[in-house]
Symmetry: D2
Subunit: 338 residues, 4 copies
């Protein structure tokens, strides 16, 4: 159960509500976010919410039987829309496009990709400075120096930054240079990292785990939300299956399912989802038609020279065509009655 508390609730009122909920055999967790204060009750008992709801200090009360609570659409029906400032929004009502290289490599590289984004009116740039690599001997990114340069160049062009955070100690370090913290597919269940991101006031995009279920993705989002940060985005990026003809199996089923289960924005990453440059376009368009609020993909001036993921990265011609088509497809989706 979720209880949203009134802003001006007194300590006595709150203690009284907690006592009542515990009496009903529910465990209570207090959740204070930048936006509001909640009590989350977990338990199996049956309880009469109407009686409970009449206690003073309660703004709203809902039954949510899922493992995840605060991210559930059963509780918050209106879709969450994140405002990144300067007119950049993620969530229902617009199609959010993010593009950029797998890894930030150099000033010259960023110069070019940012010009490409500006030319195509794309306001969000992805790019990794801390790279999770399965081998310790692979290139692991430019680190904080790269991020600072990234930030400075992006600010000058009105571009917002999406970049991966890999560990707790980086959260604070990266904070001032990032617009959206990305949690990678290998860290979807790095619970300490999720806890730490609960403490920041910037949006967090959580990628689905390599073989993570939809429910686990929602539970990971619940970690960040219950840690205090309501600014969340979920990302479908393909799951691991037996099929070897593609890098991953992009699970577009997850899009309509997530859109019904949660109020959070859902974006699709077709680059990792199929892993083959030629097919990124159709999968991105399919993602929009499945209901995605945004598309995040890899682009590079010369994909064949990219430090990583070149085989799934679009060049600027392909990228420009994709952006054009994405907007056409999204416009049609807005017209259709689903």
């Amino acid at each position: 159960m979720i209880i949203q508390l009134e802003k001006n609730i007194s300590a006595e009122q709150k203690a009284d509500i907690i006592a009542h909920v515990q009496e009903a055999k529910f465990k209570v967790t207090e959740v204070d976010t930048q936006r509001a204060n909640y009590l989350v009750g977990t338990g199996k008992a049956d309880v009469d919410l109407r009686t409970l709801g009449q206690l003073p200090g309660i703004l709203d009360i809902h039954r949510v039987s899922d493992e995840y609570k605060l991210v559930s659409r059963k509780w918050r029906v209106r879709p969450t829309v994140l405002d990144l400032g300067d007119g950049v929004r993620i969530g229902e009502g617009s199609l959010s496009i993010s593009a950029g290289p797998c890894s930030i490599e150099s000033e010259a590289q960023m110069e070019k990709i940012m010009q490409h984004l500006v030319d195509n009116d794309v306001r969000l740039m992805r790019g990794g400075v801390f790279k999770p690599r399965s081998s310790p001997y692979s290139f692991r990114g430019l680190g904080m120096d790269g991020l600072k340069l990234f930030h400075q160049m992006a600010r000058a062009r009105g571009i917002k930054i999406v970049t991966e955070v890999m560990q707790v100690s980086q959260v604070e370090e990266m904070h001032d240079y990032v617009d959206v913290f990305q949690v990678g597919a290998r860290n979807t269940q790095n619970f300490n990292l999720l806890d730490a991101l609960g403490g920041v006031d910037k949006p967090v995009m959580i990628k689905r785990g390599i073989s993570g279920t939809i429910e686990e993705l929602l539970s990971s989002a619940e970690y960040v939300f219950s840690g205090g940060n309501e600014k969340l985005i979920l990302c479908e990026r393909g799951i691991r299956t037996f099929e070897t003809a593609s890098r991953n199996t992009l699970d577009l089923n997850a899009v309509p399912i997530l859109k019904e289960k949660t109020h959070l924005p859902v974006v699709v990453d077709p680059s990792h989802g199929i892993g083959i440059r030629e097919y990124v376009m159709p999968m991105a368009l399919a993602g929009v038609m499945a209901g995605a609020d945004g598309i995040i993909y890899e682009a590079h001036e010369k994909p064949e020279e990219a430090a990583s993921d070149g085989q799934q990265t679009l060049n600027f011609t392909e990228s420009a065509r994709l952006i054009h088509n994405l907007r056409k497809v999204y416009a049609l989706r807005q017209e259709l009655e689903y």
Copy 2:
């Protein structure tokens, strides 16, 4: 390697070509379809096709290194379009829509669904009379009596029939009442059935196996083709993964991959692909945007009373809206440059 023979080739010429190919350490299989005559050579040796190609009696010769040969687009670049007569086509240049119940249940049921199809200008009806069921105690379909009635009613309305064949002995029995033989996901590697369907002159739609790879699907198609029947359609219908929030994981990645690997038409079954009524629409539209040549889905006057698969079956209101949207999305796809 594939060698297409001239129509008027002499027995001596053919024997001579075979001898040359065998000399090059290739195993030769003679394939005679309703359309043409081929020699398929399988082997690992390196051979000079130009020299070989000069032998009299050879119309065309191609190297195809995949396990599958005749269904490969490396050999036949132009997409195959199947003509079912009466203006019904499957393949590039149009979007083929097939709808109907999981199981044929009664004359009254068919009457209603056919009227719905006619009203919406849909020319292909799916519906099972032989039903593969995991339990021997479940309803297994109306059998041949159902099919005969299905055929009679469909003919009267200009509707073409897509229905599943489960075993070799049914191929002949069903032949005159069927427009497209469907091979179900549990029979994708029923090689005797595929062999038998190589002998008929009607289109065969092969569904991807429950955990079948894209390559296995193509090899199954190769069985039918090499058995003599070039009229083939491939169907992506979801694969089995760890995810339990959907019935199957619709692998739309398979659509652009198949479209590049083979010249055969590719259709998508969103009903089995996600298994939840509310989400059939977005997945069907996504399938079109991924590049599908057709959509096949389940519809029923009263899904909640259907003999099987009711939970993933659209009612007529939903179905009409889907048909309308499918055509809009397909029209947009035709406009876009991919």
Copy 3:
């Protein structure tokens, strides 16, 4: 629910029982096997078995809520042991070892492998004459001529034959030359084949589907049993997963789970289960320790020259060592209290 009928039940008594069961909202299926006569009731209603059980003509009545009924151990607690004659048994109380080549190739080949089996006191030989192959251009087996020779040579040496049947029409054809019909992993849900095998009086070994669940395997066995044939063996042979370091993932978890869920014997195929010769031994021994009633594996005089599956086939030295070890491990298992 399962009702075992008395042998001398009258038609009236039977009709009366059926009427009572149907009245309780259960669908009734009559099952007559070579061993006994049953009524299987499927439905969701709650019914008082004690009252029902007092009707004349009922020998025994059990509630079985699983999808599968007659193969369930909830009903028949005592393990099924199959007697193949000449002292060859499969089931609890002994460890059944079957070995032989993937494909029957020639008289000389069989001569050698049979001598190897006789030398090591192994009484069951596996070997395919109808081979399911993913490509139509691969070797598909020697067919009935091969089987007849196989049968003649095996009979002369007191060896029993386990071989794969691929389609309905082969069941009758193969019947007199086979001791155990094997249903391959691609045919686990070939329901027509299962139905047909319900009509024979010889044991049927069903391999788990390539991505078949344990429950589906039991339901496939239920097909054969409810078709009239109680002589069944289940075989774990590895499932398809994302792991590519082995051919399949041998799911030994299935062994103790199946042993509790069903009264049927359970055997393990380590050759397909891991697919790499060097590791067949440890996986076979692990299979015994997990509780298998038998092991079936591939052996060949010269694995590197085998017509198929050479990479997972043991030579005679390895095979002899495995047989020796299997018996040691089984002897220890008999001593231990689990």
Copy 4:
């Protein structure tokens, strides 16, 4: 390529070797462990190791083409055996048994389980104080206070501690109270954590990722090794598949495959591997027969009252019987020629 350097190598000699390796188009990583100093060369070029090997300062040089290098058995043929002190060893030559509760709950609980271990001559106790939980509202462990008590009680009884570390900041904090750091299945690719564990001088047991490949597990071990810590143990604990009859699919295939690919000890966790108490015994015994160097399982005085994982936890009677049987099975394995 791996180059083991001589202990007394000069800076000039080392620089010279590095220069030669780089000239051959290899990237060089210097690895200094508590045991020795290495250069790891990664690249695709072909190089003559004999010439290179004659440079002064090189003790040993090997070509290792796998992604993982230092953990490969191609380089170090002799199995690694870890000595935890007080006669407790992990690796070939003995069967290492670890048991204990999922979570450390209380002094009374530890008292009982430790007595059980002492009674059965088990020297390693597992037990979590930091618990990764998919829901933020679940019990997350007693933390450092629990660990300190655990350590004090274990030391008094000659018991060694295996416990999970979840994040970088805990490594130092936990260091003095832990005998084996466990990296959980959700952290197998938490590369920062692996890096940090490269800096400690205590053994690290890495569990296979929830859907991690065998190769990824080895690469994760390579992280720790190349970070400076050679004391590694790998643990097979089941992978995620489509099968729902068990919690995970214990992949015992991984045991012989890992034993050949790496010199590191391999242990099996049957509790998580199957997730059902009744079947832990057969899977543990199967694990030994597959070649495991150790078994780690969950035990609790009253599994039904355990704070977590009760459904897969053995009570003391079951645990004592398992320990007895494990030793019998291991003794037999030592006798057999594989």
